[in-house]
Symmetry: C2
Subunit: 379 residues, 2 copies
C-alpha cells in the first residue's frame, strides 16, 4: 500500500464513480478513474483520469499497476483481462470472478441457487432457439444474458404475438412475477467477512423507460419481509465471498413472497438516498470495503425519498438546469448533479433526495420537486 495515502483506481467514470470519488477524496484517498469520455462525471473529482474504453488490456493493466486497489462502477468491462491481473495480485474488488458471474444473467441465477435464495424460475434460451420459441404460459420475461442495463435487455412477452419482437440474443426465459412492489437492499461486506445491511427500500420505476425512478427508504413493508430480504442479502454476499457493496433488487408479491431479481457488484441507484439518510453513504462504504478499511454503520438516521432527475424527453444537447432555486425551497431537499456534458431524453442527469419525518411526507415533496426541476438543453 502507498505509504502516504491509499490510491484507488475506478474503472468507469459515471455518476457512481463520481460519487465514490467525492467520498474517497474526503478521506484523502487518491482516485484514478478510467473512462472513454475525458469529460465524464468523475473527471471533475478524480485526481487523474485514463481515457480508455473498458476493454483495452493495456490501459486496464496501467490503472491496475498505478493503484493500491481497483474497483469499478459498471459491469460491462473486460472481466477476462481483470481476472489475469487479479491472479497476479488480488487487489480488485469485488473480484473479477464475481463480476463475470454477475455479467451473465445465467450465471447470476447459479449464484442464487448456490445461496439457496428464492428467485424466479428460468430456462436458458440460446440465440438460435429464439426462432422456435414456444411457451405454455404468458406473460413470460425474456432477459438478455449479457449487456442489460437500466431496463435494456429485458422484454416481457404478453402473448405469442410478441414473439416477433424478442431480443435476438442469448437469453433466459424467466417466470413473470406479478409483484406488488420492487424492493432493493444494499449489502456491504469487508475483507474479514463482516456484513453491514442497509435498510430495505422500495423502488418505483418510470414505466416509460423502465428506469428506477424513485426510491423510498425505508420500504413500507412488514417486519417479516424485512427479515426475509436481510437473510437473502446476507446469503448472497456470503456465498459470493464478496468484498465491496452489492445492490440487490427483489420482487415482493401480494402474499409477501420475496424473489431476488438481480444483483449489482457496486453502489446502486437505489442506494443514493444513503448519502443524506444513513450514517455511512453507500459510496464511502464501498470504498472502505475495497480499500481494506472497516465498514461504517449502515443505520438509517432519517427517512428519505430519492428521485432521479432524468433528461427532459424533448431535449438533447448541452444541459441547462431549470427550477433549482424553486425546488430548493422545499425543506429537506438536496440536489445532486452529475455534470454530464450533454443531456438526452431520460438520461440520468442528477438526483434529488428529500429527508423528512416520514416517507409519506418525503414522497409528496419529491413528487412536487420532480415537476419543478428539469434538465433541458440550451437553445
Amino acid at each position: 500500500m502507498n505509504p502516504t495515502r491509499i490510491k484507488l483506481g475506478i474503472i468507469g467514470g459515471g455518476q457512481l464513480s463520481r460519487m465514490m470519488a467525492f467520498e474517497a477524496q474526503k478521506m484523502g484517498i487518491y482516485i484514478e478513474a478510467l473512462d472513454p469520455d475525458p469529460k465524464c462525471p468523475a473527471s471533475y473529482v478524480a485526481n487523474s483520469l485514463i481515457v480508455s474504453d473498458f476493454y483495452n488490456e493495456e490501459h486496464l493493466a496501467k490503472i491496475f499497476h498505478n493503484n493500491d486497489f481497483i474497483t469499478y462502477d459498471i459491469e460491462h468491462i473486460n472481466a477476462e483481462a481483470l481476472k489475469k491481473l487479479y491472479d497476479k495480485e488480488p487487489k480488485i474488488f469485488p473480484s473479477p470472478y464475481i463480476l463475470e458471474q454477475i455479467q451473465d444473467k445465467l450465471l447470476q441465477k447459479k449464484i442464487f441457487e448456490r445461496a439457496k435464495v428464492p428467485a424466479p424460475a428460468y430456462r436458458k434460451l440460446d440465440k438460435n432457439e429464439i426462432e422456435n420459441f414456444e411457451s405454455d404460459i404468458y406473460p413470460v420475461v425474456q432477459k438478455s444474458r449479457k449487456g442489460g442495463y437500466d431496463g435494456r435487455g429485458v422484454f416481457v412477452l404478453k402473448s405469442p404475438a410478441d414473439k416477433a419482437n424478442m431480443l435476438k440474443t442469448d437469453s433466459l426465459i424467466e417466470e413473470y412475477i406479478d409483484f406488488e412492489k420492487e424492493l432493493a437492499i444494499m449489502a456491504a461486506r469487508d475483507k474479514e467477512g463482516n456484513i453491514k445491511l442497509y435498510p430495505v427500500v422500495e423502488m418505483i420505476f418510470d414505466d416509460r423507460v423502465n428506469i428506477c425512478d424513485i426510491t423510498s427508504a425505508p420500504a413500507r413493508v412488514s417486519e417479516k419481509v424485512v427479515k426475509e430480504v436481510n437473510s437473502i442479502a446476507e446469503a448472497i454476499v456470503e456465498n459470493l465471498d464478496g468484498v465491496g457493496i452489492f445492490g440487490i433488487e427483489l420482487f415482493l408479491t401480494g402474499d409477501e413472497k420475496v424473489y431476488v431479481n438481480e444483483i449489482a457488484p457496486r453502489p446502486h441507484n437505489s442506494g443514493h438516498y444513503t448519502i443524506e439518510a444513513c450514517k455511512t453513504s453507500q459510496f464511502e462504504q464501498h470504498i472502505r470495503a475495497v480499500c481494506g478499511l472497516p465498514l461504517g454503520s449502515a443505520d438509517l438516521v432519517i427517512p428519505a425519498v430519492m428521485a432521479n432527475i432524468l433528461g427532459d424527453e424533448s431535449h438533447t444537447g448541452k444541459p441547462l438546469i431549470t427550477g433549482l432555486k424553486e425546488a430548493l425551497q422545499i425543506e429537506g431537499l438536496y440536489f445532486h448533479y452529475y455534470c454530464k456534458s450533454s443531456t438526452k431524453p431520460f438520461r440520468k442527469m442528477g438526483h434529488i433526495t428529500v429527508v423528512d419525518n416520514s416517507v409519506d411526507s418525503a414522497f409528496k415533496k419529491v413528487s412536487q420537486a420532480k415537476n419543478i426541476i428539469k434538465v433541458i438543453s440550451e437553445k
Copy 2:
C-alpha cells in the same frame, strides 16, 4: 448568471474552500479557487485554480469577472480591491464591507455595539502606546487588531511582568472573561433575509497552541443559554445585513452570562460537525446563501463530536496518515483529510467526526480516536 450552471469563485484554497467545493460540485456548481499554492487543498476538487496571493488586484478582478458569485474562505485578503469590484456589481458574499469590519477587531467591536450584544469591555491600544501600557486589573487580554488567526494575535497578560512580551502592533486591550465554556454557533442568512441557526456547540481548545480542537454538538448548556446565544447570533447577522454563513464564538461564564468573542464571515472549524450531523452542512448552506439559493434546514439529526487532526508535534514534511484503519473501527467515526502537501507541528491536516446517541459517548470515542490516528511525516 451562467445559463447552464452557476459559477462560484472562492478566494482561498484551504480546507474550508475544499469542503465548500465538494458541496458545490455535488450540486453541479462550477468552482474556481484562488490560492498562492498550486497544490492547496481545494486544488484537487475545484474546476479551476488561479494561482495568486490574496492581494493581487489583477487576479482578484479575474476571478470576479470569471464567475457569477464570489466568496472566500479566509479573512486576510484584499478587502479594498474587493470593495471596488463589489461597487461595480454586488456579487461578493459576505460583502467586502462586512469583511473589512471583521478584519479589524476594533471594528468588530463596533458591530457588537450596533447589534447591542454583550461582548467583553475593551479599549484601543495603538502600537505606539504599548511601551507605556498600564493596567489596574490583571489578567487582561491584548488582541492584535489585524491578522490574528488560530490563536495568533492574542496575548494574555497575567501580571505587569508580562508587559515585555506584548504584541508590538495596533491592538485592543480587552476584559478577561473567566469563562467556564467556549461556545460557538453557525448562523446563515440568505439574500431575502431569512436566517437559519445551527445548534449551539461547545469548543474545547488545545491549550498548547490555542487551536479549537474539539467541538461537541449540541453544547451541554441550559435552554436559557441556547436562547441567549440564538438571539445574539440573529442580532449580529441581521445588523450586518450579512449573506452567507457566519461563525460566532462566545464565552459562557459560571453564572450563565454570555459574551461574544469574535465572528468569522465564512464556514468555521466549529461547524465541521454539520457535515455528518445536520440536515444541511455549513458548506452547502454557505454556497446556497452566496449563490442566491434558498437555505436548507439547519436541524441537528444526531449528536456529534468533531476533533481536528493536527500535524504531529515532532514531524515536518511529506505527510503520512497512521492509524486510520484502527480508528475507523470505531462505530460512527468519519475521517476527513485535507491533502495538504506538507505537515508541520499542530497544522490542521484533517478532522474526525463521531456521531452517536449522546455527546458524552461520542466524546469518549473521539478522545480514543485522537490517540490512534496521527499525521506524521514520511521518513
